[in-house]
Symmetry: C2
Subunit: 306 residues, 2 copies
DNA sequence: CGTAATGATAGGAAAATTCAATTTTTGCCA
DNA sequence: TGGCAAAAATTGAATTTTCCTATCATTACG
């Protein structure tokens, strides 16, 4: 008679992911007993033990793992169902949850958000900023609808759309008076350390890969959590950094910083959207892509890159 | 936050299928207001109108149709999830819902059920007897797990497994003293009307197709709802009929009935199981197939077909 | 108009879910 | 072994949800 409930499945999904009754309950914004009871009820309904309770929290049984997999799928589809209903009305109306990587969000959003608010007043955009790996998890679990990150990302269940190319430029202290394109040499790097973001940022990896390609070692990598910090250091003559062009306008205001183009072929990243292939919001997502492109073009227009 | 409930979806699914609040409520074993309220709640949660209420009941809106489709899919998967848990323990344990066509059920079940009860005491078999078309719907909607019917049936979402061949024999009044194989001729059919089951039984269609193949017209087709009725008439000399061999032992007990083999190539049907490709019970279903084959062989051993 | 069919609404009862507080279980370590 | 601490289960009361009966509102049709 199908007596289980979506709530039970949500609790179980949280428990399966987190492996701890108390913390899973917290993640669901309910008390531990509430979650415990629902899990027990689910086990009764299914006639199978799903988790082993032990000193170190909850561990899924074999059956539990199978069920957890189906549960995730079911919850994704339930999400889709709700989204699908919301997508029924106008384009870009209702709630849309967008994830953006930290090396893009602060530069794109100031242009994108006002534009969206004006063009699609019925859109309720939820923005989440984290690193690619976490965003990928969340897209896959239908906790966000679409993410903006650096492509390419190969994933069987995700679809992607490239939006624009974002070149990397060199930000150095103002005493560098070089004209024209710059060559990144080992020699130079020794004099002027390269400051990079902390681990986990894909931009950091891309920068390191570029250095490796240019046969220069990129040690001495501070590990800041934002360009703002790094640029403060650059302005104070503590080193230089690679900066995505999209960030130039915002981060290189100071007269103490000199923005230099790199020799051809210039390094760059391709930014694009990713979403679950089965997402019912594809129409909205394509409209969003359009909006982002417009915002980016406006942004590029103001750039003071030479 | 995913605030809809499976119950709402069940009610909506019933409403979508039935198109009438009162009767849908009845089908869900709740009162009409209960269903109405849940549908309203669902519409609120989704932020979309799903049904047009009118004088002639409820009609789905365009959005409603899309949602109904997703709802069906979701409910199917929820069913699968529950089944999948029940399938975890022993083979053929837990509830298994089997649909059988009426021209098979009464002959196979008396042998099959005791055998299953003995071999798989933990199996809780629910048997449903109806015609192929209805069974197909129910298999597809995951309201039954597997069906036994005459193959071939082509359906993208269903898998099938042929179990055994069931020949057709001729059941005629005892005054027919013919020895050996019989040829079904137009001439004969004029003297002795062919009695058939009512519309909807696939066996009726198969019988008619055989007659057409043999170039004899098969009008005068009473339309009984069971072989029992037909055989009573045959025994009283009111005509003859085609009978599946599986039914011979049960239906041709009377000395007033003569069972005659037909000339080669003998007509027959292939009986087999059908189930949804994604059903989590395939292991159980294959065990069931085994059991049915055994039951059928026992049955064939007792047959008094010449 | 009245009527019959259909869905919506109201009010109270029953069931479920939840929370805070407490107890039991479990594994660990002295 | 016995105490300790973390984790989950249980308890009991409060809250929320769901349901039912009875009634109302709307609509189309004779």
């Amino acid at each position: 008679m199908l007596t289980i409930t979506l709530r039970q499945l949500q609790y179980f999904d949280a428990l399966a992911r987190i492996g701890h009754f108390g913390r899973a309950a917290e993640a669901c914004f309910v008390s531990q007993p509430a979650l415990t009871v629902q899990i027990q009820e689910l086990e009764n309904q299914l006639g199978a033990r799903l988790v082993e309770r032990g000193r170190r929290g909850a561990v899924l049984t074999e059956a539990g793992q199978r069920i957890a997999e189906r549960t995730r799928k079911l919850l994704r589809e339930a999400e889709d169902l709700v989204q699908s209903a919301q997508a029924s009305s106008a384009p870009l109306a209702g709630r849309l949850r967008l994830g953006i990587i930290p090396t893009v969000a602060p530069y794109l959003l100031p242009t994108l958000l006002p534009f969206l608010r004006q063009t699609y007043p019925d859109l309720e955009l939820h923005v989440r900023e984290t690193q690619t790996a976490i965003l990928l998890d969340e897209v896959e679990a239908a906790r966000i609808d679409v993410m903006l990150a650096a492509l390419p990302i190969a994933h069987p269940d995700l679809e992607s759309l490239a939006l624009f190319e974002d070149r990397f430029v060199l930000a150095a202290p103002h005493h560098h008076e070089t004209e024209g394109r710059v060559v990144l040499s080992e020699d130079w790097l020794r004099r002027e350390p390269l400051l990079l973001l902390e681990e986990g940022h894909c931009f950091r990896d891309q920068a390191i890969r570029y250095c490796a390609l240019r046969q220069v070692s990129s040690h001495n990598t501070l590990g800041a959590s934002s360009f703002a910090t790094i640029m403060r250091m650059v302005a104070n003559g503590l080193g230089m950094t690679l900066l995505p062009e999209i960030a130039v306008t915002a981060e290189a205001r100071s007269e103490d910083i000199r923005i230099l183009r790199l020799e051809e072929p210039e390094p760059s990243r391709v930014l694009g959207l990713l979403w679950r292939r089965e997402s019912p919001r594809t129409a909205d997502i394509r409209a969003l892509a359009e909006a982002i492109s417009i915002a980016q073009q406006a942004l590029a227009g103001w750039s003071r890159v030479p």
